[in-house]
Subunit: 196 residues, 2 copies
Amino acid sequence: MELLREMVLTDGKVYDNNVLKVDSFLNHQIDADLMLKMAETLRDYFKDKEVTKILTIEASGIAPAIMVANLFKVPMVFAKKSKPSTLKNNDIYEAQVHSYTKNITNTIVVSNKFINRDDKVLIIDDFLANGQATLGLMQIVEQAGASLVGVGILIEKSFQSGRHLLEERGINVCSLCRIASLENNKVTFNIADDER
Amino acid sequence: MELLREMVLTDGKVYDNNVLKVDSFLNHQIDADLMLKMAETLRDYFKDKEVTKILTIEASGIAPAIMVANLFKVPMVFAKKSKPSTLKNNDIYEAQVHSYTKNITNTIVVSNKFINRDDKVLIIDDFLANGQATLGLMQIVEQAGASLVGVGILIEKSFQSGRHLLEERGINVCSLCRIASLENNKVTFNIADDER
């Protein structure tokens, strides 16, 4: 997505040949107009999939997910990184998600009332890097017996293992911006065949 | 807001004469259509205030805040409950927020790049109870030297101290649903003069 790549180039900052900071428009301050355009692009890509539910994980997945949900006119569910006191152990789906950046493992939780075997779930997240959050959300979809129709991502770090892990499981992944490299603290894009 | 009150009555659950669980449509699963209508109502209320920025706090404030930001065509900023590793101490505004529910105090953080003295800030959050999160966000607006134009809330627990604390500071508060009591685990509304 050309507009997103322009924003990454003009407003993104790269550290340590690996970290892309996009907090001025994507995950701390959010450019609402850009977010709407990104949501429309993801909706267009998945529009024939009869999506019944959008699933993401708190916190920075929530903004793109609610915008996409609003376009599909379906509910959005966000997984929580800790179990709410009002949810009992047998009322939840849960999965372990390891963060390589923070070197911690979180248990993510979704109430089992909100995804069921009839659902066609579209997972939305801001970043795809090592894919651990997405794999955790996929486990939750599987526990619910629901179908996963695909994964929509704003920014993919294609040089990390996430996309490969999803593709080898046959998942339909749409990333709006694919980054081939952050070497020398410079952004190099991977403009793919499925460019949106 | 009639539609929201209906949802609270039909889908909300009350515990311990004090806790209102709305996780089926507001803060775990989110009814995207309801969220858009709530955002439109808040936009209509504050439409003459020349809002330049929407401010909220992760995680459950993000969905209403991005929807309101999209209607105003202004950026949204969400305060983080922990300091990102990419932000240095002299690059941030911060405030202490005590949660009576969880009995913990969090430091909330906003990068000082994203709010400045020219901003007219509208604070959006899902709940107003004791008002501690809102007061923390107000401290951040004050540190930035920005103007606060008002506070937009989805559900207010009017029997707790939040609204009083804001009103005695002269803040313009718009709550879409005001709850007078949860006694006997029953929802009683407070339908006020400023009903939207």
